[in-house]
């Protein structure tokens, strides 16, 4: 497509990462804060980072509590309790404290997002770069492998893998990595294909540089940014799917600080009682808001990154 060819010149704008002068970082931050939407995204994510770091201060676990990620609960009374002094966001069924779960759930969300996107990126970059650069049978084999993984809707594959591996947060992360790596490898491979024939790569080869050096020093710095943009958008998407799995009961163990699971607790109570349908609104509202804002923040940031790294598309998404 014409798109690929057009992409090349604008990428020359991007400075190689190790040579970014300090003013480059300043420029980046300035660009990020200039647009109201990307500013909102930045603020939301910074707030979540702050909450994650300060979790032990904001919601200290009870004295002698062994695992801070397990939500404390007083008794097993079945009905949720509304927000009160002791439980600012109320409690779920079985009396899990929603405030505590939302705060510590921030850490869970970052953990899932960073591990899944990080590992998938690593796999995707290595395989995508090798396939794109060497081409031939290696490329053919990898792309067919990607096709096979693409033959499943992402949630379906994740559900199947978790069903077979068993439940638990680590299993969810493994399932999501299996779902996500093909996207990055296919994307990077395409970028590498469009760059590897260009003159500066030819020049590097003429200078006798090794394949490794060419890939690492010349090709990756010129191909990786679109992949990173997608990855930043995926931070939200990964957490969304993880929350969906937890909602289905396929995620973290009961009582683990996890937004999807907190929201799933609200299912039995969602229609309230006769005469007062909104009686248990807080069981859905707080965990739901946390997931929504987290995903929204990453989506806004992802759009902003794309604008910055791809000026041609500025404001089109």
């Amino acid at each position: 497509m014409a798109k690929v060819a057009e992409k090349v010149p604008k990428k020359a704008v991007v400075v190689e990462p190790e040579r970014v002068p300090i003013s480059g970082v300043v420029w980046f931050v300035r660009r990020l804060t200039r647009n109201r939407l990307s500013l909102a995204g930045t603020v939301i994510i910074l707030l979540f980072i702050l909450v994650a770091i300060l979790a032990p201060v904001l919601a200290p676990p009870p004295e002698g509590w062994r695992d801070p990620y397990m939500i404390p609960h007083e008794g097993y009374a079945p009905d949720p309790l509304p927000p009160s002094q002791a439980h600012p966001f109320g409690t779920t069924e079985q009396q899990f404290d929603i405030y505590y779960g939302v705060i510590w759930g921030t850490r869970t969300a970052f953990k899932v997002g960073i591990v899944v996107v990080g590992v998938s990126l690593l796999i995707g970059i290595v395989l995508g770069a090798l396939a794109g650069y060497y081409g031939g049978r290696l490329d053919e084999a990898l792309m067919r492998l990607v096709d096979i993984f693409y033959a499943f809707p992402s949630l379906v594959l994740a559900v199947v893998v978790v069903a077979i591996l068993g439940q638990g947060l680590e299993k969810v992360m493994i399932a999501l990595i299996l779902v996500w790596w093909p996207t990055y490898s296919r994307l990077l491979r395409g970028e590498v294909l469009s760059v590897k024939e260009r003159d500066f790569v030819e020049a590097a080869r003429a200078l006798g540089e090794s394949d490794w050096r060419i890939i690492l020093r010349h090709i990756l710095p010129n191909t990786i940014y679109p992949v990173l943009v997608v990855a930043s958008l995926d931070m939200g998407a990964v957490v969304l799917v993880a929350a969906a799995l937890s909602f289905l009961g396929l995620g973290a163990p009961t009582g683990y600080a996890d937004w999807g699971q907190l929201a799933s607790f609200s299912r039995q109570y969602i229609i309230g009682v006769a005469g007062d349908p909104f009686q248990y609104w807080y069981t859905l509202f707080f965990p739901g808001l946390a997931i929504f804002l987290f995903v929204l923040g990453w989506n806004l940031l992802g759009d902003a990154f794309r604008d910055i790294l791809d000026p041609r598309l500025r404001g089109t998404m």
Partner: protein, 341 residues
């Protein structure tokens, strides 16, 4: 074009083989006893577990087991689903029409609203309508399906009592399951009309409203974003400027010249979107206790109903592979440049 399609078709068996292999490898992580149910069509057989293991060589080397399993799958024995209390293939046949109906009813509004709003947004860039639709785009895209679905349930069932969960009311389902009601397509709304039972049609439709509202938000938002960005890209091109400088009316430029090209990525995406809808019903169906294939799959995964999970995976993989094929062909059809590559 023929060569292009032929090339795609050649790849099909390779992918199909890979898909079954992937599912099989995942299944091998389970003990032979758990895999035994894959070969059973009647739960009573499960009492003689070790005999099944012996008959189907569930402790044999990998390739022999794969061969046995493929033979069973191809001859239509997909095992017994404990969650549905019927054979897996029969369960798929029973649940799929409901899911298909839900996806179909969601797909049409998604396409119409998505393309309409996306175009409007691009044409009136940076005006109020653009800001509103961009806001809808980014927030709808970020909204978790289950939170949105539960919220709708709280409002329209808990408060207003308008739209109940499930597939049919009790009276309607009694009638539908009686011999008087004839099944033509499996789609309840269509069958109700063909039977001349308007009240069942209304009843079936009532139960579709909330799941459809739930399913549509995310994909409509996605389509608005894609249409808008594609439209903006096209509007910048020279031929659009030419059309304008020729003095053509703006609606003609937008609808006849620009939108045609802007819709190329949208059309390609739409068949993937439809397949995605079929897969994305897992959450929606669970929230609304809608008896479709997604709710069955989720329940099976939760209760370690392995044959159901394997069948669920196989079925969706088949659908997706076909959907991808349609997408490729559509893409080549609407954009001749693709065929030449």
């Amino acid at each position: 074009m023929t060569a292009y399609i032929a090339r795609r078709l050649v790849l099909l068996p390779i992918v199909a083989f890979g898909v079954t292999l992937l599912i099989f490898i995942l299944l091998q992580l389970l003990s032979p006893a758990m895999r035994a149910a894959l070969f059973v069509t009647d739960p009573r057989q499960l009492q003689a577990l070790h005999e099944i293991i012996k008959t189907y060589q569930l402790d044999a080397p990998f390739h022999i087991q794969y061969w046995n399993w493929m033979k069973a799958v191809l001859t239509g024995n997909w095992g017994w689903s404990e969650t549905a209390r019927m054979p897996v293939l029969q369960a798929i046949k029973a649940f799929f029409p409901n899911t298909f109906e839900l996806a179909l009813f969601s797909f049409i509004p998604i396409l119409l609203v998505g393309i309409w709003l996306g175009t409007l947004s691009a044409v009136h860039r940076d005006r109020i309508i653009d800001h509103v639709s961009r806001f809808f785009g980014i927030s709808g895209y970020s909204l978790p399906t289950f939170i949105w679905g539960l919220f709708l349930l709280m409002l329209f069932y808990g408060h207003f009592r308008w739209f109940p969960p499930g597939r049919l009311s009790l009276e309607a389902s009694l009638y539908v399951n009686s011999p008087e009601f004839r099944r033509f397509t499996g789609l309840l709304t269509v069958d109700a009309l063909l039977n001349g039972q308007f009240w069942i049609f209304v009843d079936a439709l009532r139960h579709l409203v909330l799941p459809v509202l739930t399913l549509t938000v995310h994909d409509t938002a996605l389509l608005v974003r894609i249409t808008r960005s594609s439209m903006l890209e096209v509007l910048r091109q020279d031929y659009v400027r030419t059309a304008r400088s020729k003095g053509l009316a703006e609606p003609v430029v937008i609808n006849k010249h620009a939108r045609k090209n802007a819709l190329i990525p949208v059309i390609t995406l739409s068949s993937l979107l439809f397949v995605g809808l079929l897969g994305g019903v897992v959450i929606t169906e669970t929230v609304f206790e809608y008896p479709g294939i997604g709710r069955w799959g989720a329940a099976a995964a939760l209760h370690l109903d392995i044959p159901a999970v394997a069948g669920f995976a196989l079925f969706f993989a088949t659908l997706t592979v076909l959907g991808n094929l349609v997408a490729d062909i559509l893409y080549a059809y609407v954009d001749p440049r693709i065929r030449l590559r």
